[in-house]
Subunit: 139 residues, 2 copies
């Protein structure tokens, strides 16, 4: 498989969704992975008492991770998919909806580029923006 | 816990280490996490036949992940740690050594920033560089 990948880093602020419910979060992550067209091969969720959840899905196409800080109404997620078949932006949309984020910052990166000259920088930022919730609701 | 975090994205090219050995890779990841001063709470490794390994350690401080493409002598890793106690750059050094990478590109990002104005961009790239192996060997 070609390692060329899209990596969406997302930070969700002002979340009113339940950031401390491991089962709820895993369900949201699985739905997000499905929406992206990815295949979940393993799941690994951990609850830090009342301090939040870390969860990671190993995908056939790389991974989807989430970390939550309920006391700050904040969560971060990484959606990292190789191959042209996946649509990680769909996963991001579902996560933002599940977390009920007031707004979200995303940075989209291109990774796993092999074909450029061997000693040059290859990772690069494709997009970096804020997504207010209303844009999602009106789309 | 404060969500302010350092996220090192690393891409290892020209690897001569064994990129298809799940146990070896998990050992390297655990050593790397230990070197960074992080605490491993869960491990999730998956072998894609002869096509590589995906592995993720859930850390008390976030996560450490790796994906390998043996046919391209290529691996990518993410070392994401919150809090000021961790030194993710130490984990990166150990991974580069374990993978025997000819050279490595790293991008270091600051994440989880809460205190800036609520509607501005907060994630940012702190460093983006190539690390030839000889720099590691001579350090």
């Amino acid at each position: 498989m070609n390692p060329q990948s899209t990596h969406i880093m997302a930070e969700f602020h002002g979340c009113t969704g339940d950031l401390n419910h491991k089962v709820h979060l895993e369900q949201a992550m699985r739905k997000a992975a499905l929406a992206a067209g990815a295949t979940v091969v393993k799941s690994c969720m951990h609850q830090f008492g009342s301090c939040g959840v870390s969860g990671i899905l190993v995908l056939a196409e790389s991974h989807l991770s989430i970390h939550t800080w309920p006391e700050h109404a904040f969560a971060s997620a990484d959606i990292y998919t190789c191959g042209a078949q996946c649509h990680p932006e769909k996963a991001h949309e579902l996560l933002q909806e599940a977390l009920q984020a007031e707004h979200c910052e995303i940075m989209v990166l291109r990774r796993g580029v092999l074909q450029s000259p061997s000693k040059s920088l290859r990772m690069h930022v494709v997009e970096h923006t804020l997504l207010p919730r209303r844009l999602q609701e009106h789309s």
